[in-house]
Amino acid sequence: MKLSIVNYGAGNIKSIQFAFNRLGYNAVLTDDPEELIKSDKVIFPGVGEASSAMEKLKDSGLDVLIPQLNQPVLGICLGMQLMCNYTEEGNTQGLGIFDVSVKRFSNTVKVPQMGWNTVNNLKSDLFKGINERAYMYLVHSFYAEICADTIATSYYEKEYTSAIERDNFFGVQFHPEKSSRAGEQVLQNFLDL
């Protein structure tokens, strides 16, 4: 299987590569459109700030390419947020794959949300073999609202989208590469799609 990670300067790619290695797969970091198009599965990572990340995607034309991909694509954390319509972070227009907005948690809770939270209302093959209320590791200050494409929710200040799916596009707010065995199961499920 040809597995690629979109390279646009987002941080901590190593953890994702290592997580796939533990599952017996090699994930290649690339920004070459041909390579991405030829891949069986594409991971769209993201750590950092939304507007600067979006600028980098635009610089390399990846903002146009990614929404046109036909194979399964998994956005992680900021990657998922950038696949949405709009994010309040840096007042940024996203890739518009998921028809939902991303907002900031209010200061009635500690921001960022940092740690392990449950994923609830699971409905996708992405969560095959994973129990309701399984724990996943999250670090984020912004969240996608609940929408028609929501396939998992978590609660922090309010119920929000912790995973999302539309056609061949998937997004998870949590870090499966850091979420112990449950996270590894999500990655394996993505590979099995």
Partner: protein
């Protein structure tokens, strides 16, 4: 609900764990990678590695260790000790560390916090604060608690938050090593003062100390070393007790 985190801390020197570690079924107590894996399997929520190597040269072995831990461990981990520049952090994050912890270097040059959070994001910048209560006032100390400063804990905590720290790791020197409980009063005050997570450190001796620091101390996470290393408090038992006392934990 977001759970409270239990974080074992490993002191590392020249790529090996120091201080005694005495785990059940553990063959090589000195290998941080073996230990880290074991802790992840036993239900630790995160790990902290504190590099106490003396020289820059020895720090390179730290990079190898971080790479190996990242390759084998499926929970988040923080690396601290001797980090003083954007380059230091860049190297560690590239080796697979999830967060870095800075301490003395932030006090000496507070703008470092801004530089790091601007470049890497607040989420991976932990500011560690060692403080000691002297005549009713908490003062920040440097270099592993050996050098006192005039800086007041609560003012410094506010400042590191405003400069972009994503989390504060607070160690009470009055409590560290005493096994008499965490500094819950100061912790609760910190937690109300700032809007970023607080990790309690220093003083863990019993299960009740953890319950207290989450309830009275309002801590978001609790860090300890010896009670975990010597199997005095198995993490699973600790978490079961916490849950019995209505503290949300990952089990």
């Amino acid at each position: 609900m977001l759970t409270k985190r239990i974080i074992p801390c490993l002191d590392i020197k020249d790529g090996r764990t120091v201080k005694g570690v005495n785990f059940v079924d553990l063959r090589d107590a000195g290998d941080p990678v073996v230990l880290a894996k074991q802790y992840a399997d036993l239900g630790a929520d995160e790990l902290v590695f504190l590099d106490i190597s003396a020289t820059q040269e020895k720090r390179r072995t730290m990079h190898d260790m971080v790479l190996k831990v990242a390759a084998q461990v499926n929970i988040p981990f923080t690396v601290g000790g001797g980090i003083s520049s954007v380059e230091d952090v860049d190297d560690l994050l590239h080796c697979g560390a999830d967060k870095v912890s800075i301490n003395s270097s932030a006090v000496k040059r507070p703008v470092l916090i801004n530089e790091l959070s601007d470049k890497f994001g607040s989420q991976c910048i932990v500011v560690a604060i060692d403080a000691k209560e002297i005549a009713g006032e908490w003062y920040v100390h440097l270099a592993g608690g050996t050098i006192p400063t005039e800086i007041k804990l609560f003012e410094w905590a506010k400042e590191v938050e405003s400069r972009g720290a994503g989390e504060i790791l607070f160690t009470s020197m009055n409590h560290d090593g005493t096994k008499s409980g965490f500094a819950n009063e100061a912790l609760a005050k910190l937690s109300e003062l700032v809007n970023i997570p607080i990790i309690a450190s220093g003083g863990a001796g019993t299960v009740k100390h953890f319950i207290d620091t989450f309830k009275e101390g309002k801590a978001d996470a609790a860090l300890a070393a010896s009670v975990f290393h010597f199997g005095e408090i198995p993490i699973k038992d600790l978490k079961e007790e916490l849950r019995k006392h209505n503290v949300e934990v990952r089990l």
